[in-house]
Assembly symmetry: C2
Homo-oligomer: 240 residues x 2
Amino acid sequence: MPSQKLIKRLQAVVGLSEQDRTKLVNLPYMVKEFTDGEYIVREGDRASRCVIVMSGFVFRQKVVRTRAQILSIYLAGDMPDLLTLYLPLMDHNICSAGQSTIGFVPHTYLNDILTNSSSLVHALWRETLVDAAIYREWVASLGSRDALSRVGHLVCELAARLEVVGLLENASFYLPFTQQNIADACGLSIVHVNRTMQELRQRGLIEWERRTLTLLRRKELEELADFTPDYLHLRDEKLS
Amino acid sequence: MPSQKLIKRLQAVVGLSEQDRTKLVNLPYMVKEFTDGEYIVREGDRASRCVIVMSGFVFRQKVVRTRAQILSIYLAGDMPDLLTLYLPLMDHNICSAGQSTIGFVPHTYLNDILTNSSSLVHALWRETLVDAAIYREWVASLGSRDALSRVGHLVCELAARLEVVGLLENASFYLPFTQQNIADACGLSIVHVNRTMQELRQRGLIEWERRTLTLLRRKELEELADFTPDYLHLRDEKLS
DNA sequence: CGAAGTTTTGACACGGATCAAGTGAGGTGG
DNA sequence: CCACCTCACTTGATCCGTGTCAAAACTTCG
């Protein structure tokens, strides 16, 4: 079982058959631990396997001139490089933030189970589409929101995504990011991220101590950040 | 034939079988013309068909507070809302820029041909992955590049994408955008876009008159804009 | 305990936003 | 065919959000 969390999430959203679940559970995979800042996949690599985040935080990073822009963030249960199934040549890095546990599943096995199950195609294709939906929201954030709501939005998104995999407790979650990471993700300078975080604290919206971030008044924060979770497609639209 | 350009592009990149091509060519579809600013698909719509751009320009737009952020741009041969196959509920608009010709193909038919051909799954899934790769580059642009290279980058991307579908002639292409559109896409004010365009002109990098944009010194422009076309995945990596 | 990394603070600079007004071009109706 | 209207583009002045630089305080961990 490469990741209970992944299967649970897929199950909840597209409804896998007994057979499909068995196939996923029996996927052969390798596990490796990564430490803070370590590269999991590098720009230029030609991938022959996919990554599954089993625990911890991971981010996609592209070096643009002098900046190390963070393009997206992945949590337990995510498959950050499903895209390598069809675009094997990596044009950016995938890095660990803090300690993480990563599973690797060879493309050949994934391709096998995909050719024989159109509902697994549905499930994994959909995963990549949600990933794209998140990029769209980031484009909207970077293009249209000021620093305060941009940082707030990131915090809200992480909370919402962690919640569905059971990693949000009492509106708190573990966040192994430095302010530099937040800056790289939000397209801001570290100094301004610092001041923005202070303002979020002063407004009584968050606490962030010893790598634990707490949402104090989630509604107000979401409002300030202009956050609505729809774009995350956390549950099947057909049901709602 | 919903779009020769689409089929040609898919063909070039993944190599469709005779059978697959026939299936695509025989897809039933409806054609409609749209004028400047008209909505093709609206936020809140529950899609039951996919859009194929047959000619003209189309963009994805999300209203964020007071801004109408443009999230992505589509050209002849693109399928901007393939995602609705699995995420039918639209959380943004798709609009026409200038006059465009749009084909509509019902989901049911697309699903039919997908369940019976894993190479068509490959081809269309890949399309959505390239779409995501373009978002990533936009995130990088909005997060890390200044106005001049941001606008330059957009111009370079459009030129590169138009080139593969044969719509770039003598380094010129038709561009029905206003400066306001560019501003909405790049997360800049219209005044600053104006000044940025003037600077690109003064530097002898582009001309833009009567809706025709010309790249004067493409290499220099691409350098200035920090543009490399890899992320567009315009040809099959396996070959290169 | 020391060293390195992270957060915080202050002063100052600058890119780009905003506001306001003017110019030009395309489209329409008389 | 011209007068007018509208919309897009342009210009100048000013303001503000965020970046940069530099140094200090605090944490974490070996």
